[in-house]
Each structure stands twice: as structure tokens, then as C-alpha cells.
């Protein structure tokens, strides 16, 4: 799991029991278990996945396979603020790449990366369905529409 950062906070593995126990003995539960684990820790720490896999009697490799297949799962801690630049068709033709270029210029990170101070993580999303306001991005769950490159600095400044 190469994307793990070096200085990780201590992980309280007792929470794995709380997450996994309600699912024991049920079928088709791998994805909900991973979703709940991620909600608990903010990402999927390796020791937590190993413990969950043991409890569910699933090979950890299989769990890792599922976790890496879906875009929703993250194996490394992410920033406090998640920027998602919409790269849907409407946003693409209205200049979405100029928006992400500007963010990269300001923060020095490209898609999938997190700033060193964990303030921002930059992601792309296929479509958030606000095509009328293209180009759009969301920061955490706040949508920002009708963007132009010169507005980006000010918007980023409003997130701590």
C-alpha cells in the first residue's frame, strides 16, 4: 500500500469491532463494511482492514482488491477539505481543466494528492449533476458554480 503517509496517528482498533459486528453472518457485506470503516477512520488504515478481514473470515487480499477497485475508498489519510473538481462533459466544454490548473498552481498538488499540511485534497469527479452551473467544483459538500480561474484563490482562502 504505497500511498500511506509516514507519520500516521495511533489507530484505535476497538472501533473495528463496533463496525464489523452488526454484519457478521450476513451476505454481500464487504462494501458496506468498508464504507463504515472509512466513515469511522476517514480512510482505510491497513491494520483496521486486516482485523476486519480476520473477523469476517475473508482473505485480506480480497478485501484489498475490493477497496482498490472502487474510487470511493482511500488507503491514506486525506486533507481536512476535499476539493472535487467536476470533469463532467458540460464542465469539460466550459473549461473545467482551467479550474484544476489554477488550483494546482495555487496549492502545488495535482489530482489525488493532499497538501503537506493536510489542509486540502484535490480530486476529480465525473459529474455532480449541476451542469447548468458549469464549470463546478465542490469543497467538502459545498458546491461552487460558474467558476472562473480568477475566483479560485478567494474560494480556497475561505477554507481553513
Amino acid at each position: 500500500m504505497g500511498e500511506e503517509a509516514t507519520a500516521l496517528p495511533e489507530i484505535d482498533l476497538d472501533k473495528v469491532d463496533e463496525v464489523v459486528d452488526p454484519f457478521l453472518g450476513k451476505k454481500g457485506i464487504m462494501i458496506p463494511v468498508l464504507q463504515n470503516l472509512q466513515e469511522e477512520y476517514g480512510y482505510l488504515p491497513r491494520p483496521a482492514m486486516e482485523k476486519a478481514a480476520r473477523k469476517l473470515k475473508i482473505p485480506v487480499s480480497k478485501m484489498y482488491g475490493v477497496a482498490t477497485f472502487y474510487a470511493q475508498f482511500h488507503l491514506a489519510p486525506r486533507g481536512r477539505n476535499i476539493i472535487r473538481v467536476c470533469k463532467g462533459t458540460a464542465c469539460h466544454i466550459q473549461g473545467a481543466s482551467k479550474i484544476s490548473d489554477r488550483i494546482t498552481e495555487i496549492l502545488g498538488i495535482t489530482t489525488g494528492e493532499t497538501t503537506e499540511d493536510y489542509r486540502f485534497t484535490l480530486e476529480e469527479v465525473a459529474c455532480i449533476g449541476a451542469c447548468a452551473l458549469a464549470p463546478v467544483m465542490t469543497i467538502n459538500d459545498n458546491p461552487h458554480g460558474r467558476l472562473t480561474p480568477d475566483r479560485i484563490q478567494e474560494i480556497l482562502d475561505s477554507y481553513e
Binding site: 482551467k98 465525473a126 449533476g129
Partner: protein, 604 residues
């Protein structure tokens, strides 16, 4: 008793334009005047006209306020809600017209639309089962409870319903196969994994009218003999999931879901599964794998899910919009339902209309309407009166249709013949500033990225096609690349395992078919006429048109534009990063896209 009902659009588009702030101010202004309890404020589903959001529709006055700002609210409350006088300046005003439009029926955007599937969206409180029932909801279910399975299937077949999720397979036939398949248990699955970029119809239906989906699935369950269903919904749609959960609880409370529904002996359990972000899971066999908790990779068909689906039991999968049509068929009767549409495409289709049209939003039109009517009458034409270049239908699996296809009727077969597909319903209009080669590259980079990697043609083939397209957009293309693209496209279409790969080449094939001249221009003349592919054009200011207003110099981040006030300006092509900010700012249309190295001819 409420004096007025205020339907505030609470869908994603309006939320992004600030409808939450508008509602907060509305609550406050009413409370401050001590009249809050006379007004019912509903965060309603999407009324479709995202372009002019945030929107508040006032009943019973039938007034459609739009483009609202929190600052406008005090005036509306005072003048309209207290003094009874409509605030005209916040009504809809069509561009270039002085006349304001008061309500849905007067606004051109709505004039050619037919509200069947979206009949409740934006008009009822989606969190109230009572309002759904008042509008005729669950009547279709009671009718179906008295019918034999075969008769329900027959009714859906007669109605001519075809799948709204992509390929347009006849739904009645699919139901028949699942009914006839032997199995001790059968499942109904609703595909709400709407992953196409530029498509948000299914989300709007789930958010605006969740009970319609439940009712449609219940009827499908009766038709095929199933007692359990799954809705597989993108985790990116939290509001849709929340509304659906609430609707399921209400339906259970009313005895419309669960054990012994309405005393009929019919049991039905409905579950929600959240997807985890993989476009390929919109493919039915991959979706089933994902519900089972595995990696969402497709498997070969046959056996089709109708024979061997979820946990190997016969399974009927339809998408959200398809299920939303089902109660309509049972309530109206197949023949009445089939009056809308064409010979082989019945009913309506919901499109997410976006791109460079004036009126973007969610639209529901009868099958058989022409593309021109959608783009010009509903969509209000192209922004800034620019020239129409193409319309992209069907997302990454679909195609781009040029101007001479504007009169094409929108039905399954005409679109397929023209190289596009009905798809799930994304419709993006494009003007002269959209580069078709770049668009093909864009879609292919999407499908390439989302390819699950199981089969070689899709995994490797799309990668090779993407590399070629990248080369062409960077000015390194060769003429023989066009043949290679066509060859690769046909092999990938023929030999990919699932729909993702089989349709991935479509955007490339249609742009090659209708816009080959743009590809050739990129390759032979190293020129991108749309000003998108950065290596293949430059900007220059036309001294005849420039009035020296200096607006462009203020937005240029690299100070590449020089010139005295009221004198024609010049762009230094060495400094220019081609960000296009100046083009958007120039009111004189003086900044031209030119061939690399030809700036001396223009700027002197």
C-alpha cells in the same frame, strides 16, 4: 390552514445556486412579520429549469419566481405575500423580450415538454407519501394486485416500454424472461448507478418522486413473482438515498411494503445498496457483482441475469426512469400510455440538457421530438447567439451529431442509425468553441479510466486509441492514425466483454464520421479552429474590431496584452498561456483564434 404553499427547489442545481440561503432568509422574513405559520415551505424536487435557479413556485397563485438571491426575499415577502402584489422583476423574462412570464405554462422552456415521469417532481413534497397518494400514487399497485403476473407483463409489452438506461431493450420482454425462468427466489434490481458525466435524470427522479420508483418495483415484483428488491444507488447521491430511505419507511408504515401488502398476501422487501464509485457498475452483471460485495467486474452473458442473476437467482434489472414509467402504464392503461411517442419508441424521455444552450436543465419530451426542437425551443438556442456545432447524446457510450442531423427525431432507432444512442439521457449542446477531436479524447480518457481491466480489447484498446488522440491534439498526429483509430474502434466494439467497451469507441467514430475535417486540420495544418488544443492555435487581436477598452488587459494573468487606451491592443504570443480569459471578457469579439505563427498577418 395555509394561505400559500411555497415550493423551493432543493435539488442539487439550485442548492449550488444558493437555494438554501434563500430558504433561510425566507423563514426569517416570514417569522419576523409573525406570519410564518400561514405559509408552507417545501424543499421540493427539481422543476427542471436549473439555469434560472434558485426557484420558488408559489401556490395557489401560480407564480414562478426565479434567479433569486437572499436579498430579494424581503421584497417578495412584503410586496407579494403581505400586500398581494406580484413582484414582476423576479419573474422569468425570456432573453431579448420585455414581457415577463408568470408561470410554467407561459415559459417557453416548458412549452414543448410533457410531464409524465416528472409529473410530481417540484410539485409535491417528496418526503410525504400522502401527497404522492393524492396525486394518484399507488393506484397502479392496487390495480396490479388484482391482475395475474402474465397480464401485467402483457400490459407493459403492449405499452411498448423500452429500457431508459441505455440500450433500449423492451422491458416487457425482459420481465417475461424473468417470469418464465425457474427459480425458488427472484430479485428485482433498480439500477440507480447513474455514472454518465452530464446526466442527472435518475437522481432528480429519486430526489423528487421516490415513491414512483417503489411503486414501479412493487409492480415489477408482482409481474415476475419476486418478493425482494434492491436499489443500487451511487453513494455520490446522498439526498436521493435519504429520500428513498424515508419513502421506504413510510410505505412500510402504510402497509404498502413488507408483509401481506394491502391484505393481498403479497410480500415485498426493498433494500438499498450504496455504490462505491465505479462507472462500470452501471453494467448489469458488474452491478450484481457489486451488490454481492465483490469487485464490480462484468461477466459474459449468457446466462443473462433473467436466468442467473443476483446470487444466481433470476433477476430483473431496470433503471430508475424505466421503473418510474411503470405506475403510469398501469394507471393509464397501456393504450393510453402508448399514445405519446412514435411507432417503436413509446412515451417520453427525460434529458439532462446542458452545455452551450441558453436554458440548461432537466427536460422531459415526447419521443419523436426533433433535436432542433430540444436545442432551440426548449433549450432557447445557443449561448451568445454563436453557431451550433454539434449535440452529444448518450454520454461516453453515445455520439456527436452535427447540424444537418438537427431534424432527426429523438427515438431509439433513429439515434442508433445516426451513430449515437438514446443512452441514459445526457444531452450536451456544443458551439464553435468546442473542439471535436478534444471531445473524443475527453470521452475516451473517461472510459479508459473507468475500464475495469478484465478484458483485453477494452483495457488495452482504449488505451491505444487514447494515445493516438492525445498525439493528434498535441499536433503530433499522422494521417494514417485515422485508419488505425477506425480499425481499433471496430475491434473493440466487436470483442469487448461488456457494454462499456462495446460502446467506448462511439464518440470517436461519430466525430470521425461527421467531423473528419477537424481531425485532418489538426494533423495536416496543425490547427485547432476551436481554440482548445493549446499547441495548435494562437490568439491575436483584430485591430479593426478592438476599441482599446482595456478590459482584456485586466484579466490577463501574465500581462501578455499591451496597448494604449482607445488604441488597438496586441497580444504577445510568447507570453500568452492561452487561458482564454480575455476572449470571454472581450465585448467586441476582437480576439481571434489564428494559426500558429500567423499573428503578424492579423496584428500587423
Amino acid at each position: 390552514m395555509f394561505e400559500k404553499h411555497l415550493m423551493v427547489c432543493g435539488a442539487t442545481g439550485c442548492l449550488a445556486s444558493g437555494s438554501k440561503d434563500v430558504t433561510e432568509v425566507l423563514e426569517k422574513e416570514l417569522s419576523d412579520r409573525g406570519i410564518r405559520d400561514k405559509f408552507r415551505i417545501v424543499m421540493a424536487g427539481c422543476p427542471g429549469f436549473c439555469e434560472v435557479g434558485p426557484i420558488i413556485v408559489v401556490y395557489p397563485d401560480e407564480v414562478f419566481y426565479c434567479r433569486l438571491d437572499p436579498e430579494n426575499i424581503a421584497e417578495i415577502v412584503e410586496q407579494h405575500f403581505v400586500n398581494g402584489e406580484i413582484v414582476e422583476k423576479h419573474l422569468f423574462k425570456p432573453p431579448k423580450s420585455k414581457e415577463v412570464k408568470r408561470f410554467y405554462d407561459e415559459i417557453p422552456f416548458y412549452s414543448k415538454q410533457v410531464f409524465n415521469v416528472l409529473r410530481n417532481s417540484g410539485r409535491v413534497n417528496p418526503e410525504s407519501i400522502d401527497e404522492y397518494i393524492m396525486r394518484g400514487g399507488y393506484r397502479a399497485l392496487t390495480r396490479a394486485l388484482d391482475m395475474k403476473s402474465e397480464d401485467i407483463v402483457e400490459e407493459v409489452k403492449t405499452a411498448g416500454l423500452r429500457g431508459r438506461g441505455g440500450a433500449g431493450f423492451p422491458s416487457g420482454l425482459k420481465w417475461k424472461f424473468t417470469l418464465q425462468a425457474p427459480g425458488t427466489k427472484k430479485y428485482i434490481v433498480c439500477n440507480a448507478d447513474e455514472g454518465d458525466p452530464g446526466a442527472f435524470m435518475d437522481r432528480s427522479i429519486l430526489e423528487g418522486d421516490p415513491h414512483a420508483i417503489i411503486e414501479g418495483m412493487l409492480i415489477a415484483g408482482l409481474a415476475i413473482g419476486s418478493d425482494e428488491g434492491y436499489v443500487y444507488c451511487r453513494a455520490e447521491y446522498p439526498l436521493a438515498i435519504q429520500r428513498l430511505k424515508m419513502a421506504i419507511e413510510q410505505a412500510e408504515e402504510y402497509g404498502l411494503l413488507g408483509e401481506n401488502i394491502l391484505g393481498s398476501g403479497y410480500n415485498y422487501k426493498l433494500n438499498i445498496k450504496e455504490g462505491a464509485g465505479a462507472f462500470v457498475c452501471g453494467e448489469e452483471t458488474a452491478l450484481l457483482a457489486s451488490i454481492e460485495g465483490k469487485r464490480g467486474v462484468p461477466r459474459p452473458r449468457p446466462p443473462f441475469p433473467a436466468q442467473k442473476g443476483l446470487w444466481d437467482y433470476p433477476t430483473c434489472i431496470n433503471n430508475v426512469e424505466t421503473f418510474a414509467n411503470v405506475p403510469l402504464i398501469l394507471r393509464l392503461g397501456a393504450e393510453e400510455y402508448a399514445k405519446v411517442g412514435t411507432e417503436n419508441s413509446k412515451g417520453t424521455k427525460v434529458f439532462a440538457l446542458a452545455g452551450k444552450v441558453n436554458n440548461t436543465g432537466l427536460v422531459e419530451v415526447p419521443m419523436g421530438i426533433t433535436i432542433k426542437e430540444i436545442v432551440y425551443d426548449v433549450g432557447g438556442g445557443i449561448q451568445k447567439d454563436r453557431a451550433f456545432k454539434a449535440v452529444q447524446i448518450g454520454g461516453p457510450s453515445g455520439g456527436c451529431l452535427p447540424e444537418d442531423k438537427l431534424d432527426l427525431p429523438v427515438d431509439y432507432d433513429s439515434l442508433t442509425q445516426a451513430g449515437a444512442i438514446m443512452g441514459s439521457g445526457g444531452m450536451i449542446a456544443m458551439d464553435e468553441f468546442t473542439c471535436m477531436v478534444d471531445l473524443a479524447r475527453y470521452f475516451l480518457s473517461f472510459t479508459q479510466n473507468e475500464s475495469c481491466g478484465k478484458c483485453t480489447p477494452c483495457r488495452e484498446g482504449t488505451k491505444r486509441m487514447l494515445e493516438i488522440l492525445e498525439r493528434i491534439t498535441e499536433g503530433e498526429g499522422k494521417l494514417e492514425d485515422l485508419d488505425t483509430l477506425r480499425d481499433l474502434a471496430s475491434s473493440i466494439k466487436d470483442s469487448s466483454l461488456c457494454g462499456l467497451g462495446q460502446t467506448a469507441p462511439n464518440p470517436v467514430l461519430t466525430t470521425l464520421r461527421y467531423f473528419e475535417h477537424e481531425y485532418r486540420e489538426h494533423i495536416e495544418e496543425k490547427y485547432c479552429r476551436s481554440g482548445i488544443c493549446k499547441e495548435l492555435f494562437e490568439y491575436a487581436i483584430d485591430p479593426e474590431s478592438c476599441n482599446g477598452c482595456r478590459a482584456c488587459t485586466k484579466v490577463c494573468a501574465v500581462d501578455a496584452i499591451s496597448g494604449e487606451k482607445k488604441e488597438p491592443h496586441k497580444i504577445d504570443v510568447e507570453l500568452c498561456t492561452k487561458c482564454g480569459s480575455c476572449v470571454d471578457r472581450c465585448r467586441q469579439d476582437a480576439i481571434k483564434i489564428i494559426r500558429v505563427g500567423s499573428e503578424a498577418d492579423v496584428q500587423g
